[in-house]
């Protein structure tokens, strides 16, 4: 039997990665001054398909949801705050689906990051069924383009 390759998480951005640090984090051609925060690794894949975004990512690993026992401590929020406060980041883009839990996570994370950098959120209308994953590439690219500073 062939041993399955262990897929772990990137120690910097928490995206799925076979290596300790993922390809995107290692890439010299990616803009290190912009970080896009998403809920899930699948969102990274969806955003990569737009070929519109050239910065780095940070994957939270879920959304704040007390009903499911998920609070900020269960997500990769502390490492994000550390990362943003210790490096010179120009902009953090919050690209989290606009569900109730998504909005709560966006507001919570945004408040923690605002002392350190400019924080924007991508522009979404009414959610269809919810996830970035299901938004088509054109919609996503437009949402990214139309991002606004978080109040």
């Amino acid at each position: 039997m062939e041993a399955k390759q262990q897929v772990g998480l990137c120690s910097v951005c928490f995206h799925l990665s076979a290596d300790p640090v993922c390809e995107i984090c290692r890439s010299p051609s990616r803009d290190p001054d912009t970080v896009c925060v998403v809920a899930d690794s699948r969102d990274v894949i969806a955003l990569e398909k737009t070929r519109e975004y050239k910065g780095k990512y940070h994957v939270l690993g879920g959304l704040i949801s007390p009903m499911d026992g998920i609070g900020p401590d269960q997500l990769h929020i502390s490492p994000l705050v550390r990362r943003i406060s210790q490096q010179k980041i120009q902009e953090v883009i919050l690209a989290i689906s606009p569900s109730v839990e998504g909005d709560t996570t966006t507001l919570y994370v945004g408040q923690l990051l605002k002392p350190f950098t400019k924080v924007t959120r991508i522009a979404f209308g009414l959610p269809m069924g919810g996830d970035l994953e299901y938004a088509d590439e054109v919609t996503l690219a437009r949402a990214l383009e139309g991002r606004r500073e978080l109040e």
Binding site: P72, V100, T104, L107, Y108, Q111, L112
Partner: protein, 375 residues
Amino acid sequence: MYLKTLHLRQFRNYREQQVDFLAPKTILVGDNAQGKSNLLEAVELLATLRSHRAMRDRELVLDGETAGQIVATLQRETGITDLGITLRNTGRRTVALNSETLRRQLDFLGVMNAVQFSSLDLELVRGGPGQRRNWIDTLLTQLEPIYAYILQQYNTVLRQRNALLRQQNASSSGAEPQIDLAELAVWDSQLAAIGARVIRRRARVLDRLAPLAQSWHQAISNHTELLDVKYAPNVPLEQDDSAVVQQAFLDKLGQRAIAEQHQGTTLVGPHRDEIEFIINQTPARQYGSQGQQRTLVLSIKLAELKLIELVIGEPPLLLLDDVLAELDLNRQNKLLETIQDRFQTLITTTHLGAFDTQWLKSSQILTVESGHIKF
């Protein structure tokens, strides 16, 4: 608007039933427990995507089956629309317009409108505040379909916030109270922002409905009674301004913070709203006579009909479930005068005896017998 056909497939006690509506008034006659109310329930679902008596979709599906369907053809001034709802035991629903499945259920609402009036509606006056909130929410959903989305968001925030308060409640009974105030603050602001939208929409619809209900009540009571329908929001509403209402909401959350942590549940917000019915300055709920309460419910239903017609621009359907026989002649006549041929009306009854012969002549009469309809 006119419902031309209705097709029920594995819905409640109907296996397969097609109904063609051939007159503005249809009387469904049959013994108890034959499927009369079930048919009206199907129409109610088409109009609101809600049922006032089913808790889960599983109840709506014919026993022993996994899915059921309601299909209808509706004639409106703007044209003919086919509506379809598929209900499943799993609770997952699909809705379609003109055979095209919609991605958002929200887009299904507002196509068909109906006012339901059943003998259970006396509970609107006598029952708890939850009944009245449910009533106004159903009406709002028809008038402003986006409200269904707002309400669903509000209920989600509420459940999440309650879960958080419960966790904190559980942890604080131990040695170390663990309260993430930053997280709670975000849920507070979400609750206030979405809650303010619920409150303002409820206030606005009641503002429009109250004078209509008042004039109906006056007419039916021969000018002896004055009805006031008053919104009593849990969060004070001093001004119809989003920022002001949100601030009032947050202020009240601040005042009740300790009680909320103690009880582990949200004590502030439109889920605690009340709507007061007052007749001649006396609360109708505790003090109204049976006759007054009946007049009140009838007035409210007539006001709903009028308001929907005003807002939508077309008369909605009227669903009268067992209720006509319970009204005295004066109230019956007021109702019938209003309906005439303008509102398509579906009426259920166990006996045709209570009906005016003129009425019977101009109505389509269908017999309902254990999930079958005979023409």
